[in-house]
């Protein structure tokens, strides 16, 4: 709708708008004692907050993480020292208007790093660096609002594709999580085969008759790029075939959390019963309590000066973290 018409509509809201959004000093009722410079400063901060909110939403649209560096570069510019204030303000705005929050992504699993990356990390890391400095937007609305009819797009065209995409990564993440956080490639393929998705998956755009489905490999790659999955390929020094395993990516961990997994499993089993709940409790908790099978090995290795796991480690060999790197290392 062209701008001129927008005004017509706006006019009858004018009164409300003025009352709700004191944007210029004149509009501020009741705090007439505020000095102009304070007001000016606040306006500047408001602008930065607005820009950060817009930046966060734009990142979310493309499922790219919101990075601290990106915020500094694209939002703050020369106002870098205002990071804390602007970030806090943006969180408030996101919560108030959209019911969303920026949630920090978990740091990358150390056992998913290549030896090279570990060396780098060991050198640069000031002891315990536990922050990833990357965020995603998640909804903070009560669970009742997360059902598919609201959350998942429902219109034909892309929405169907998006819905099946969500269903697929939720399912794969559930399988990986219930398998203890790691799934071998053949086992993943077997699961996909059972779902008739070994070769092809529903395309992102089922309405486009030229490509109603997509190669499974392409969809998996997209899941990796979006941070839902991590594929680790380990080239064996001995000349065996490469061993590929699948893990939950940082976005996957945040968006498909334990509650989401439990909800998904209940849906698959057509409801909940005591036995299922017990199992669910067990598997989701066990994973929590289990002292991280490979993690401990690599965690220990991390302390070594060069970060090399050493010859006795069964995981010896070059690890490559496929694709997922392109977003993380720019």
């Amino acid at each position: 709708m062209p701008a001129r018409r927008r005004h017509a509509v706006q006019d009858d809201e004018e009164e409300d708008v003025q009352r709700q959004y004191p944007q210029s000093p004149d509009d501020v009722d009741g705090d007439g004692d505020e000095r102009m410079e304070v007001v000016g400063q606040r306006d500047e901060t408001s602008q930065l907050i607005k820009n950060l909110v817009r930046y966060a939403l734009a990142c979310e649209y493309s499922r790219t993480p919101i990075r601290r560096d990106g915020i500094r570069e694209k939002v703050l510019g020369s106002n870098g020292r205002d990071f804390k204030k602007v970030f806090a303000g943006a969180q408030k705005q996101l919560q108030a208007t959209f019911g969303m929050q920026m949630v920090e992504l978990p740091t990358k699993d150390r056992n998913l790093l290549t030896a090279d990356q570990k060396r780098k990390a060991a050198k640069s890391q000031s002891q315990k660096e536990t922050v990833s400095n990357a965020y995603v937007l998640v909804s903070t609305l009560p669970e009742a609002y997360t059902k598919p009819a609201i959350k998942a797009p429902s219109k034909v065209q892309s929405a169907d594709g998006e819905a099946s995409y969500i269903a697929l990564y939720t399912m794969i993440i559930t399988i990986i999580t219930l398998s203890g956080g790691e799934l071998s490639d053949p086992r993943l393929r077997r699961h996909l085969g059972r779902l008739n998705a070994a070769e092809n998956m529903p395309g992102m755009n089922p309405n486009d008759e030229t490509s109603p489905s997509e190669k499974t490999e392409l969809v998996l790659q997209r899941m990796i790029r979006h941070g839902y999955l991590v594929r680790v390929t380990e080239s064996k020094t001995t000349g065996d075939e490469d061993a590929t395993t699948w893990h939950v990516g940082p976005r996957g961990k945040v968006e498909v959390d334990k509650d989401a997994i439990a909800t998904f499993v209940r849906a698959v089993y057509g409801g909940s019963n005591d036995e299922l709940e017990k199992k669910l409790q067990m598997s989701l908790k066990i994973k929590e309590r289990k002292p991280g099978v490979p993690e401990t090995v690599d965690e220990a290795a991390e302390e070594a000066p060069d970060g090399d796991p050493g010859p006795s480690d069964r995981r010896r060999g070059r690890r490559r973290q496929t694709e997922a790197e392109d977003e993380d290392d720019e």
Partner: protein, 339 residues
């Protein structure tokens, strides 16, 4: 800005409003029928007491007034953040069904698409828009759409020495240089045909482009609403009578699919969906500007091509013919207008 600053929200703003905005943003556009389903689900969630019977609100019970209420509140909430909600009727489909879109208030292709696309893709989209609104939008043939072959022909920047400046301004997209070894690093490599096809498919999927049964790509209502002012500023020249983008005499919206005056130099256009109401208010079917009888058989949009007798005679021949026509049009191909 002190610590107890609270962002202002419209009066009575609730989680139902927030859920509506989240869902609207995820979808990009909403029709009333889609909104009925969405709002019914939201209303069920509001009254969700944890019991199992949740889907208890009938979508049919959601009225246009309910929907407009949510829209009004949402606009009020997002306007300070430079977002807006606009609506228009679909020129082509659904009998002119009204479509609402969640948009950026100040938008151009780069800001709208820049975050989710590579620099090469953004540059391609700009070339595609040029193809739609310049190359394939002439007084003789006002197509304002491109077929697949024409879309593929834009995959690389126009040849020769001009290639380098098309994309010189946005090379900040790391990690896209896998096709190294090109002669000049500054030269935009364009997109491979396979990349163009998958980009087009995702633009269709996200509701930015429409793809017609005859295989033409045109701007979907979402793009027309989002890019309205950018399109007009970019392709129209205030000093000339002829405009690349013309507006419906009845509803004043952009016409990319509709009818044109039989007089080739006249700028009067009408949507098919607006025609009936428009003529009903007038005595005779004559162009309101030049009084040429309005026959309704001169078209804007893909029918400018498909209504011609030659079109049905085989796609191969058509492709060759339009190649020749393009070559003529492209002779005065306009340079990239972004600074």
């Amino acid at each position: 800005m002190d610590d107890n600053w609270e962002p202002p929200v419209p009066a009575g703003y609730s989680d139902a409003n927030r859920a509506f905005i989240q869902a609207f943003m995820a979808r990009g556009t909403l029709t009333f029928r889609e909104a009925q389903k969405l709002l019914a689900a939201i209303q069920s969630a509001v009254s969700d007491d944890g019991s199992d019977d949740t889907d208890n609100t009938d979508p049919q019970s959601i009225t246009m007034a309910d929907f407009e209420n949510f829209i009004r509140t949402a606009r009020e909430a997002v306007e300070p953040l430079d977002f807006d909600i606009r609506n228009t009727r679909d020129q082509v489909r659904g009998g002119g069904e009204r479509v609402w879109a969640f948009i950026n208030a100040h938008s151009d292709p780069a800001t709208q698409l820049g975050t989710s696309r590579t620099a090469e893709e953004v540059a391609y989209i700009k070339r595609l828009l040029d193809a739609m609104f310049e190359k394939h939008n002439t007084a003789r043939l006002e197509v304002m759409a491109v077929d697949e072959g024409q879309a593929l022909r834009e995959s690389r920047p126009a040849g020769g020495g001009r290639a380098s400046n098309v994309n010189g301004n946005n090379n900040d997209d790391g990690g896209q240089e896998e096709e190294g070894g090109g002669s000049a690093a500054a030269t935009s490599r364009g997109l491979k045909h396979s990349e163009v096809l998958s980009l087009l498919s995702s633009l269709v999927a996200e509701g930015w482009l429409d793809k017609s049964r005859d295989g033409f790509y045109s701007l979907a209502p979402r793009s027309l609403m989002e890019l309205w002012s950018w399109l007009v500023a970019t392709y129209n020249d205030a000093d000339t009578e002829w405009q690349q983008i013309k507006f419906c005499e009845a509803c004043k919206e952009i016409v990319t699919y509709g009818q044109r005056c039989n007089e080739p130099n006249c700028t009067i256009r009408l949507h098919d969906i607006c025609e009936e109401g428009f003529w009903r208010t007038r005595g005779e079917k004559k162009c309101p500007k030049c009084s040429t009888p309005w026959e309704g058989n001169h078209f804007v949009g893909e029918r400018a091509v498909t209504s011609r007798s030659g079109f049905q005679r085989g796609r191969g021949r058509r492709a060759r013919r339009s190649t020749a026509a393009d070559a003529a049009d492209a002779a005065e191909d306009v340079e990239d207008e972004e600074e």
